[in-house]
Symmetry: C3
């Protein structure tokens, strides 16, 4: 399984970054029984937030989808770190919460979070079919356009 997942990441041209470590009194993930909880991930690329601003004003849908994709890549990076490098231990991606910094007029958060859902479903296959919520926020840490957290069932 792990080899298949790594092959799909390679096909997509995705290199998982080093999993970022929070500089505060919390951790990027917690394993509780068979569940892996991943902290809200920002659209980090090369060590910095790559897509900033409010969607509907500073950021268009295509760019926000890329932000969601980056959040999902960082979720996979955290999962890989949590699972000793073996993404094949992902039994099922259970739920993601997609937070989109939005103007009151922007109402296409579902399209934005598809950026993450598509990448996760492509990379993880059947195990990547997840429940989700997609909602519009007033703003997000570091002016990120998108933040996504995840709950994953592991083997």
């Amino acid at each position: 399984m792990s080899a298949e997942i790594e092959a799909r990441l390679k096909d997509l041209g995705v290199t998982l970054p080093q999993a970022a470590t929070p500089v505060a009194n919390y951790v990027p993930y917690v394993i509780s029984g068979s569940m892996l909880y991943i902290s809200g991930q920002l659209p980090m690329e090369d060590g910095k937030v790559a897509v900033t601003g409010i969607v509907g004003k500073d950021v268009d849908v295509a760019r926000a989808q890329r932000a969601a994709e980056l959040c999902s890549i960082n979720i996979l990076a955290q999962a890989k770190a949590a699972l000793g490098g073996d993404l094949g231990r992902i039994h099922r991606l259970v739920k993601i919460n997609g937070f989109v910094a939005s103007t009151p007029e922007f109402v296409e958060q579902h399209l934005v979070i598809n950026g993450a859902s598509n990448l996760l479903a492509t990379v993880l296959g059947e195990a990547g079919k997840h429940a989700r919520a997609a909602v519009g926020m007033a703003s997000l840490p570091f002016n990120a356009a998108v933040e996504i957290d995840a709950v994953i069932e592991i083997a």
Copy 2:
């Protein structure tokens, strides 16, 4: 149990709709062990979002409570689909997250989400007493006034 629940729905005049299927790379629910995670549900009625706009500007509390009620009806519809038609398999409604599209001045999200809490507690009885969060959003997908997701312990 299932018969009692169906009777209470009938008493309330609620007909559960056909559970909607997302047109994207995610699913309306995931079962993981004894937990059923339900994706964020919008106030769908007759196949479309019935209550749109921002609460405190376009939508008043009574109408927003109706939106929350519709979200909870759609949660029950998804649960019924997930549980092979048998709502009696709901052991406990554990948690709902109530997202209310709000102006910065609107601060009665708790009253809005009571629309869902009341219906769920009435229909499910003791099993319907849930933890929850109620919060105000900048905006929501399809301009919905309310979105609610749920975690349910099943038998």
Copy 3:
């Protein structure tokens, strides 16, 4: 363990309040298997919401951090009530969601929620290292500046 936790609370000068009971059709916490789900807690002090307004306009970071700290004290109060008075039964604080009422320009929700993360890590020690999401809301119930919910693994 319980005595250590109580000693740390005393060292911090924190007295846990009586756990508040919602006046609606939901409950402050639900135990499902080994998981304790705690409803969104507001910055209650002496029975009322102590920090109100929007962060970035009405409330500065220091005051918002105090609000987050109060939310976390109320989470501990609910956990203590749920666990028959024994906080030593907290095996691991798994996840908190930190909701910060924010202007579109305020982008330091992570600093605000550190107020909760720091207190919880100090009081609970290793068991207090948690995953989290920190996000900016349009507004919150009762005009609270911060709301935080929690998932806790219990023994």
